[in-house]
């Protein structure tokens, strides 16, 4: 039997509501102006993924439960009466993953067995975050201790005991960050990537987990990984980036393990990641970024915001203008270009 993979730990943010929607790309208020409306209302966005496919944007948005009604009303006011999928849930984040596909693959395996889970997920440089339905949170927490080990916490009970009383402290830390020009710890980017969109039946998520483990055997790193909602019932869309140079290997793995899945590839893309203090808990950060990118006509292909980071995908030819735009609206101490396969 394979011994558990040792990780740093995990966190759960409870009392949140997941909202998903799909909007045509020709609706120009989406997603940039839409994210400004969210910011103007002071709604925190602890988790968001956004992906463009077939001339439509698909959005997974998570807000605190107390903001759910306000968010739904805002969506209706700005976008009209549209079909919204919503669910009460929690965000599970495991740390760290170092862009290793096998960790995301294992997490998909574990959560996929819980039935229809996760509802949404995204990776950031520090963590993998999965949105779960509220009623499976305990089961998911317990299941994590089978493939993973978490530092000093040998059992789910150890972990639960250690979390008591920490939530208040966490909120105080978040609330203390205020600045006019938001600071980021650093901006990293990487080109020579391919963005792959896969549409698959949700029941095949664990097969995707297996494919990710095969990617790991090739020594590949995942610089971007999100889910995007689908209009079709029980279908899911995954967006992820892998190095262009290994294309034949990983496309072969996908075709072998997921023959029923449909794939689309965007070549010559770049990923960027900005890490800042509690980005996921401060309203307005996504809006500032999207407005800046919009100002230099960047064709964003995908975006995620979770934990401390915002990660995005764009055509590689637009990376430089995008970086300059980010530097214009955020205080960026360093810009680091990573090489292919560097976690």
């Amino acid at each position: 039997m394979k011994s558990p993979t040792r990780l740093g730990g995990f966190k759960i943010l409870k009392d949140v509501v997941w909202i998903s929607l799909i909007q045509p790309k020709k609706n120009f208020i989406f997603p940039t102006a839409f994210s400004s409306f969210i910011a103007e209302e002071g709604i925190n966005v602890p988790f968001m993924t956004c992906g463009e496919q077939n001339l439509a944007w698909g959005l997974n948005l998570v807000v605190e439960a107390g903001d759910a009604k306000k968010t739904s009303n805002l969506i209706e006011k700005k976008l009209g009466k549209i079909n919204l999928s919503t669910a009460k849930g929690a965000i599970l984040s495991i740390f760290p993953h170092r862009s290793k596909p096998e960790i995301i693959g294992t997490l998909l395996d574990v959560l996929g067995k819980l039935g229809g889970q996760p509802i949404a997920f995204a990776n950031s440089p520090s963590a993998i975050s999965a949105v779960l339905r509220e009623d499976v949170v305990n089961e998911a927490t317990n299941a994590l201790f089978d493939p993973f080990e978490f530092g000093p916490y040998r059992t789910p009970a150890d972990w639960k005991l250690a979390q008591k009383g920490k939530e208040k402290l966490y909120k105080e830390v978040i609330a203390s960050y205020q600045e006019k020009k938001p600071k980021v710890y650093g901006l990293e980017w990487q080109d020579e990537q391919t963005l792959i969109h896969i549409k698959l039946d949700r029941v095949h998520l664990s097969k995707m987990g297996t494919a990710l483990k095969h990617f790991a055997q090739l020594g590949l790193v995942l610089t971007f990984f999100i889910s995007r909602p689908s209009k079709e019932k029980n279908k899911g869309n995954l967006f992820f980036c892998l190095p262009e140079s290994n294309r034949h290997n990983y496309i072969g793995i996908i075709q072998e393990l997921l023959p029923e899945a449909s794939t689309i590839e965007d070549h010559s893309v770049a990923t960027f990641s900005m890490n800042g203090p509690h980005f996921g808990d401060r309203y307005g950060i996504i809006s500032e970024l999207l407005t800046a990118l919009n100002g230099v006509q960047v064709d964003l292909l995908g975006l995620s915001c979770s934990i401390h980071s915002i990660t995005g995908v764009l055509p590689a030819s637009q990376a430089q203008p995008a970086i300059r735009a980010i530097q214009g609206c955020f205080e960026v101490p360093s810009v680091i270009k990573k090489t292919t396969n560097q976690p």
Binding site: S93, F95, S126, A162, K166, H308, P333
Partner: protein, 126 residues
């Protein structure tokens, strides 16, 4: 100049990654440990140029690990910076344990961590 290696020890993985990102963005190499015992093992495996140490941790807290590092001839010259959180002890570099053992760190950083404050402390020690 050789890249300096800093070990961050905290049982909050989120905070470990935050501090690691801050330091890596300034060119430091960062090691991670998630409690005092892991931190101790990590220091034995590879000697860091500086240790950033949380106080409240399971198995072995930061005060005890710091006192042990400073009591050993092999590790006493490794700079230790304590991380103190809101609601924890008054920020200070020194602490006397109930059994009389004394902790004397080289500096401290209060949470929430300010990027510039962190670099100021770190670059002042290595």
């Amino acid at each position: 100049m050789a890249q300096k290696y800093i070990l961050v020890v905290d049982d909050d993985p989120d905070l470990v990654e935050t501090v690691a990102m801050m330091l890596e963005s300034k060119g430091f190499e960062v090691g991670r440990a998630y409690d005092g015992v892991e931190g101790e093992e990590s220091i034995k495996e590879r000697r860091p140029d500086l240790v950033i140490l949380d106080i409240m941790m399971p198995r072995k807290d930061g005060y005890v690990l710091c006192a042990e590092l400073k009591a050993s001839e092999e590790t006493r010259d490794i700079p230790v910076v304590l991380l103190t959180a809101v609601g924890e002890a008054v920020p200070t570099t020194s602490y006397t344990h109930a059994d009389g053992m004394s902790t004397e760190a080289d500096d401290y950083i209060a949470k929430p961590i300010d990027t510039e404050g962190l670099f100021e402390v770190v670059t002042g020690l290595i």
